[in-house]
């Protein structure tokens, strides 16, 4: 039946060979993404690795006869939440690197020891408590399709919780607007007269900042302007633009132009 194709993929509680293969392919991807997220120096890399982990988790939900929750995972988590993270990273500044300085001595070692201990406890506890369980499977629960199966208890048994989440979402939206909104007082507004005074104040150069150079050799924004005495002006280039110089190894011919090499 076309309505629950995905529900039939892993219909019963027993694990099929296809599911095992998918698990063993995606589980290392998930773990590598999670570990890479913790280890990556740049926040953008962390966000992308976490998005990769969340996509793979969405596949796992679909594999365990939950196609609805799997698609919600992909749409809400990787589509909305991770993009919100990326927006904030871009606003806060992508070059804000983590300092490697430890504020508390030995905190990193202690955290890793704690993590190893917690993983050991959780895994042995699960293995001993649940062990080689035979799953009931969601065949009976999904017989009208997964979406209908979820909708029935959601709008009967859990309808109060569902209504409360709407209140929660409205509160969150209002809270975010209150936190992110800046209201300027009228007396804080800087008028034209004050702006001009500040510009010609002692210690401030009133002219515009020198722009990046346009020379015969280069017209890149990374080329700094030259001051009248021939020195480089640091103020003319953005700190975000990295200073890039080709290494001798990079500038050397790569040997990809075979025809010209002989001549």
């Amino acid at each position: 039946m076309p309505t629950h194709i995905l529900a039939d993929v892993a219909a019963s509680g027993a694990v099929t060979t296809g599911e095992a293969v998918t698990f063993w392919i995606l589980a290392p991807v998930i773990l590598a993404g999670a570990i890479g997220m913790v280890l990556a120096r740049s926040a953008v890399h962390s966000a992308l690795l976490l998005a990769c982990t969340m996509l793979s988790l969405g596949v796992f939900y679909m594999l365990q006869s939950g196609p609805f929750i799997g698609f919600v995972q992909i749409i809400v988590y990787t589509g909305a939440i991770m993009m919100l993270f990326l927006f904030v990273i871009m606003l806060v500044g992508r070059d804000s690197k983590d300092s490697l300085l430890e504020t508390l001595r030995g905190q990193r070692i202690a955290a890793i020891l704690l993590g190893v201990g917690m993983a050991g406890l959780l895994c042995t506890g699960l293995a001993r408590g649940v062990g080689a369980v035979t799953a009931v499977g969601l065949d009976a629960a999904n017989k009208n399709g997964n979406v209908k199966g979820i909708a029935a208890p959601l709008f009967t048994k859990y309808v109060f919780a569902f209504e409360v989440t709407s209140a929660l979402l409205i509160t969150a939206a209002v809270g975010a607007m209150v936190l992110a909104h800046i209201e300027r007082r009228k007396q804080d507004k800087v008028g034209q007269k004050e702006t001009s005074r500040l510009r010609f104040a002692e210690g401030n150069y009133p002219g515009p900042k020198p722009g990046p150079g346009v020379f015969a050799t280069s017209d890149s924004v990374a080329t700094p302007a030259l001051l009248p005495d021939g020195t480089v002006s640091e103020r003319s280039i953005s700190p975000v633009v990295p200073v890039r110089e080709l290494e001798p190894a990079e500038a050397a011919p790569k040997g990809t132009d075979k025809g010209l090499k002989d001549t």
């Binding site: 939950g66 993590g115 208890p153 975010a176």
Partner: protein, 99 residues
């Protein structure tokens, strides 16, 4: 292979998230580690839903996602306002309550 493997994977993910919260200094990355821990909890809920043969676990995972979305909105707004006043997204710099 049994569904227990999913539970062990979720436990490993939860641990990685917890270690990340303790180790990292960037507030945004700490927040991402919390999201990872929530995801590990969701994987456990979905797996137990399959083991027990009821859809309640999947509904709970759905509610966890709604709460996570609300939490992310508020958390990122707080990070933004701290960044606006202190020009830093590091959790070490937000120590105003100390004095």
């Amino acid at each position: 292979m049994t569904p227990t493997y999913y539970l062990v994977l979720a436990a490993a993910l939860f641990t990685i998230g917890a270690v990340g919260v303790l180790v990292r200094r960037n507030a945004i990355v700490v927040f991402m580690c919390i999201e990872l821990m929530l995801n590990a909890g969701n994987l456990t809920l979905v797996t137990f839903s399959r083991i027990n043969g009821g859809l309640d676990g999947q509904i709970m995972a759905f509610f966890v996602m709604v709460v996570a979305a609300a939490e992310v909105v508020i958390g990122l707004a707080i990070i933004m306002s701290i960044f606006r006043s202190r020009r830093s997204a590091s959790v070490d710099d937000a120590n105003l309550l100390k004095y």
